[in-house]
Symmetry: C2
Subunit: 349 residues, 2 copies
């Protein structure tokens, strides 16, 4: 591979602060990497009139992997939806075809107190949510119309075809096969046609993975079980909307959304890597944000897009070690700054 190009799309709010620390960590690894930055989200809208300007999309396409910060800014709430910061991430996911979103949730040793779950429950959590990212009600036809009776009406089409379900199901089975071999497919097949198709296709794909134990759960029950007995889950595979809800819920079960990374992969392993937390405008610019989720996203980037598993392990170990030294940002009950947390990770590398 020639020098891999990493696109840095830092975005809004705390995005730039946490992404800067992740970049510092990548730079410290003595790998041959090139970096290029571009504006995205509200920041891009202010500068270029669009949350995902053509040059940014172009960089994202050229890059081997994308390190993404966060987008979202309440100042843009009144804009038409197509121009809101969130459209940048939705547009990138769709344009890049990064259909497989991996969201691991596992508690770091010593952080059990941050969870609102009883420590013995929180400690048992070690799961990955595999969320479909290119379909569902996110990308089906949408409209605002007026009915014959003169009423305003909103429509969003939820849709999936078998190819879309099959490819994410495969990622689910592959992920489970590399872990504890248990895959739970979450749907709402007692109500939705899309979910029935989902379930049919997942069952078909299961034939290729006899070593994986497959179960099915309705989404309402899954939301319940994630509180009741989250330790029972290994790998969860689900659609875009249910995955959005359940992965945020799972992240909070481990206590600290500031700790959790994600990878969004296309069919070839190219990926977009982002903390699962948002832009947190309330604490932006204060140096209070936890950069660990961004740093751990960089570790996922090393593992999944650059095939640098050893370097990824090193980064993950450094984060764990840094936390053990007691350097904690405010979300973890400490008073370390974003940069101090980054320094501690660098020192532990």
């Amino acid at each position: 591979m020639s020098t891999p190009l990493i696109a840095i799309l830092a975005g809004d709010g705390i995005g730039p602060e946490v992404t800067a620390e992740a970049r510092r960590v990548l730079e410290a690894l003595d790998l041959d990497l090139a970096f290029e930055e571009a504006p995205v989200g509200g920041a891009a809208y202010r500068a270029h009139g669009h949350p995902l300007p053509p040059e940014t999309l172009d960089l994202a396409r050229r890059a081997d992997a994308i390190l993404f910060g966060a987008v979202g800014d309440p100042a843009f709430d009144a804009l038409e939806r197509a121009f809101r910061p969130e459209q940048a991430i939705l547009g990138l996911r769709k344009e890049l075809g990064t259909f497989a979103n991996l969201r691991p949730a596992k508690i770091f040793a010593g952080l059990e107190d941050a969870s609102t779950l009883k420590p013995e429950i929180a400690r048992a959590i070690d799961l990955v949510i595999v969320r479909e990212l290119n379909g569902d009600v996110y990308f089906g036809e949408k409209s605002r119309r007026t009915t014959a009776a003169g009423l305003r009406e909103g429509h969003d089409l939820m849709r999936y075809d078998e190819d879309e379900v099959r490819r994410i199901a495969r990622v689910g089975f592959e992920t489970a096969a590399k872990r504890r071999g248990k895959l739970c497919s979450v749907d709402k097949a007692n109500v939705l046609e899309t979910s029935q198709l989902w379930r049919d296709v997942v069952i078909e794909v299961a034939g290729d993975y006899p070593q994986v134990e497959l179960s099915h759960m309705y989404v309402d029950n899954a939301a319940m079980q994630l509180v009741r007995n989250p330790g029972a889950f290994d790998t969860i595979v689900t659609g875009n909307l249910f995955g959005d809800i359940l992965s945020d819920q799972a992240s909070m079960c481990v206590g600290s959304i500031g700790m959790l990374p994600s990878a969004s992969l296309d069919a070839a392993g190219k990926g977009l890597y982002e903390p699962i937390h948002g832009s947190a405008p309330d604490i932006a610019g204060q140096g209070r944000a936890n950069p660990c989720a961004a740093i751990l996203s960089a570790a996922m980037l090393l593992r999944h897009s650059l095939n640098e598993a050893q370097a990824a392990d090193r980064v993950e170990a450094a984060v764990a070690a840094a936390l053990r030294t007691g350097v904690h940002t405010p979300d973890l009950g400490g008073d370390a700054s974003t940069q101090a947390m980054g320094d501690a990770v660098l020192a532990a590398l």
Copy 2:
């Protein structure tokens, strides 16, 4: 009012067991009530070939209120969706126009241990979810089709019109006004047209309730906050699908789905009352089910459909008193039978 008629639709699994205890409690109250039973769900399918036979629907229409048990039976999973037990409850909600589902979640004194949340977090929970029940992706057009490319495809249309949103928003504001005056409207307005309409209409209705403090939250964030700081919620108003997920999640935060009742009300106050737990086929017929949710549903029936607030208070106090005597079903860590729990409530009346 002439003698009110209560329809008893006990349904499947543990439905008959828990409903029997709720009926015993209603009968013990010295009110002039008439009861009539009809089959529903899998039980009705076995007997009449349909989960919601015409006679059952007719009884539900004639009745002043409906005490519903639970429906659902894995033996019917292979049937076409229209014939599955779940269609009974969906059909009843739609046919009766019970559009407003109230799901209170509050921990009973002494049951804090049943929650997986830390006791101080669980104890602070006192919220009601007001879930829309007649619209959304539940009742929009559904289809299974084959694309031009020969792929199986599933469609479910998510839709809301302003009247549907307005009437549930009003129930949300009325509910909040009678409680701590805080209403949180949950949607996914950064992605969905239906949610943007939802938000617009909720904001319009807010003008009529200056005493209620309104906030908005995305559903993924709400799922997170229900774990992080559930005590911060007072009243939540949301759509059918998000309400399904969040209310099950909230119920588990208080630790015991076996304790939680629900009311589904139409515009005139007629209602269908059901425990939020399901048919629990794994423990059906064993006398292990907790009847408290069914009994508390009967209390909601007294309050909302029969205008018997005092009797409702009496039943709720009796449940609390019975629990304080230490009579607990297995879900609460005890070994009392369904009937023993019912006896304890009757004794405390």
